[in-house]
Assembly symmetry: C2
Homo-oligomer: 494 residues x 2
């Protein structure tokens, strides 16, 4: 790069880091809102967050910044720089298409919908949420008209969460879910004793064990922490300060334990992103599916394996000697891998989980390509659960109201959950093909091979590559559902 271009690129970096600093400030306020805020302070905080968002929006749609991006996009930059500019310009152009009125209208509709959804869920009555949902659907359809699309209107929404993901790609993958995973699940025989993880596990001891697990798998507490919130999440203020949250259920050992490992996977990805690329696409996660691949790899491929618990189960027994007295590792392992159909996505096992996502995918595709109304969506929901999962929805709380996403206007998010698991299976297969002793190492509490591979193949690239490119670079091929099927066949077959 010549000096003028270098200077221009530096201007770009400065503006991006300014936006990142303010975005991090908003994240601290959001984190505090979930973790610490006194009960009577939510309105004040909402106002402060709105002001901060307004300032950030002003910076991200600044016309001078737009011109800078367009100038730089014309130059012959090195790959990483080129990708940063291309991604930032794409975001800029998208933001710029939305009028201030549209943004405010959407924000208001979401606030209203979230409120209605909360009440509706409490009362298990979808009719309370339906009018707000219809309003939100109209806005989402308008969003697609504003942004435009090439093949399928749903592609526009998918791209918000997973750049370059399309209906064509997802139809292929969920087609395999239907043709391969569904029949596979049907022939699995019930095993494992559910009661084993549903004894009394005192809060303090669970908390200590969860922290111990996180330290053991490699979450860095010098650049992060864990707290309690009502729903577990991971939030990053930069790779040097990553916060996890969890919750403790004294009657359910699984609740906190695998939330720790899951969020720990997200957190280690955030901590592993290159700090010197702070604020730039090259310093942020590749996509939501890749993010989810990191949590699922640790939660399921590692955290629900027998080799993982070969190391941790003896330690666990020391903390809860009465609860696990006389229980073998094999019995414990079976208990944490029970396969059983149910109504609730977040409580599903790692196989049924994808049927839950499949249902949401089919419904969202329908929403974006038709003018279907809320009340018909509910019918569709209940029908799909009967056909795909084989359960009858007893009430709306356990049915269409179970997830918050739609009330947030998040249509296109769910598919990334399944893709995350499928990428995770492919990544772990690759790690095993390189390090044939990786399971033995993990059984000794040594995760160094996993960490090194993830750092070199996932973490360090940030968003320089799309999810598909990253997967090809890392494993030799694009996403292949076959790896997930091999993983589950080996684990649950025969």
């Amino acid at each position: 790069m010549n000096i003028t271009i270098k200077q221009k690129y530096q201007e770009y970096v400065i503006q991006m880091q300014k936006i990142a600093d303010l975005g991090a400030a908003a994240s601290v306020l959001s984190w505090d809102n979930e973790v610490n805020i006194p009960s009577g302070s939510h309105n004040l905080r909402a106002k402060q967050l709105a002001t901060l968002s307004g300032v950030i929006h002003g910076l991200t749609t600044d016309k001078k910044f737009g011109k800078l991006l367009r100038d730089l996009a014309k130059e012959d930059l090195p790959l990483k720089h080129r990708r940063n500019i291309a991604f930032s310009l794409k975001e800029y152009d998208k933001n710029f298409k939305f009028s201030q009125e549209f943004v405010v209208k959407k924000t208001m509709a979401i606030a209203e919908a979230f409120h209605a959804w909360s009440e509706a869920k409490t009362k298990a009555d979808f009719t309370i949420f339906a009018p707000s949902l219809d309003k939100l659907l109209a806005i989402v359809r308008e969003e697609v008209r504003i942004v435009g699309y090439e093949h399928h209107p749903y592609d526009t929404m998918l791209d918000n969460y997973e750049p370059e993901l399309t209906v064509t790609k997802l139809d292929k993958i969920f087609g395999q879910v239907k043709s391969q995973l569904v029949p596979f699940i049907q022939q699995i025989k019930p095993q494992g004793d559910k009661k084993l993880l549903h004894q009394h596990f005192p809060k303090d001891k669970q908390w200590a064990f969860g922290l111990d697990l996180l330290k053991s798998i490699g979450f860095n507490f010098e650049q992060g922490r864990q707290d309690i919130s009502s729903h577990p999440f991971t939030i990053s203020f930069g790779s040097e300060d990553v916060r996890l949250t969890t919750r403790v259920d004294e009657q359910d050992f699984a609740n906190m334990t695998w939330s720790c490992i899951h969020e720990g996977g997200h957190g280690m990805y955030e901590q592993g992103l290159p700090a010197k690329e702070y604020g730039l696409p090259s310093g942020t996660y590749a996509s939501l599916a890749i993010h989810e691949s990191q949590s699922r790899l640790w939660e399921n491929n590692i955290g629900r394996s027998k080799f993982f618990w070969q190391y941790h189960y003896p330690r666990l027994k020391k903390i809860f000697p009465a609860q696990f007295q006389g229980t073998s590792l094999q019995q414990f392992y079976l208990a944490l891998n029970i396969v059983k159909k149910n109504h609730i996505r977040t409580e599903a096992d790692e196989l049924h989980y994808h049927l839950h996502v499949l249902i949401r995918y089919e419904i969202e595709k329908e929403i974006l390509s038709s003018s279907i109304k809320a009340k018909d969506i509910k019918e569709l929901w209940n029908e799909h659960y009967k056909n795909y999962v084989g359960v009858k929805i007893k009430n709306d709380r356990e049915g269409i109201l179970q997830d918050v996403h739609w009330s947030h206007g998040s249509f296109g998010y769910f598919p990334t959950y399944s893709l995350g698991s499928f990428y995770a299976a492919q990544f772990f297969a690759k790690i095993k093909s390189i390090h044939t002793d990786v399971e033995n190492k993990i059984a000794k509490g040594d995760y160094s091979q996993v960490h090194t591979w993830l750092k070199d193949n996932i973490y360090k690239h940030g968003r320089t590559y799309t999810a598909e490119e990253l997967c090809k670079k890392a494993t030799g091929s694009g996403l292949d559902f076959g790896y997930f099927m091999s993983y589950v066949e080996r684990k649950y077959g025969g």
Copy 2:
């Protein structure tokens, strides 16, 4: 106000609330930095805070905003509005006098000085801090030249913390400290057993007792919370979200207990400020001295009184039965009011405390009116401690390095500490003159008379009046040191 003026005033309010929202965001980041931040994340946070400060500085020095203030200042507004505009314009004009270069230079010098001070204090070696202090002194003297002054250069610095406070006023008050308080202290006979509060008091029990005290005196936990930090402080994100911090020393019962009551007094003031005036001078604290009057009134006039402990001591004995077995209320009361000369301001009793402040006042006055150098300031320090307090400074850590304020560039802050105690005595005397049974009520755990008086006379006015005006309105006269002398004579005399 006619419609045009009303609209202009509304524009002013919107801009002020935007600034307040971003200021609150910065406060959340600062609070989190003290309370939660992982050890390796301070640099990242400092950068994020600097960006946020830059954005706020841009808004507070915006030329359109300046014109709006100047336009409104010409109008005949109601008192509260007029005072808001006058105060905001004064701040605007002051901010505007500083070039960006000067602000950056000062910020850098403070960062360097704070770093040097921390190291110097750890090593008890003033020579490490002295060069940074000299640099900072030059900058502070430059600040005075930029802003200008009428009578005394120190007045400019005092006005930063306590609007309209001057050397003339302080010379009078500290003259009384020297002529009345100093001889009074000298004739106090030692009483009380120091060891009583220096037994082992387990952390969890102290924490529970501190929260209980805060609830009892009226701190609202629905709009606030308390956490642990290395130095106790109060911070407000708006009157609906006020955070206190404290620390626990298991070998010193006094450390946490009176920090809770002290910060609780600050916190109740912040919670009592009118929420509908959020972001405006009328919604903020009157001055630092008035703020300190609120903490000292609760900490000392109430919290170190026998009537306060008539209610709480029996409760305390239930929590620490072994520690206080056979100790009467009178013995306990004497132990928490021991008068004894010492080196450290923050550990001083409520009488000697003002000698510590007097020394800093005299030195700061000298600093601003001469070109005295760091090394001579140290000589002055040690001399003053010998003359005023009667102690020999053994090392710099216990001497000139004990307080952080100078390394922050805060010259003019210390006097507000003493003024706070003197205002508190005057306010409490007024409350007692109206409610002659207030001590009996407090002895029953009923603080309603105190709360009502503070709400009506202090809290609700925000910054509409200066400290002196407020004091006159509330008590009938300006600050009168005589009230403090009467309070201590009644308590410690004869």
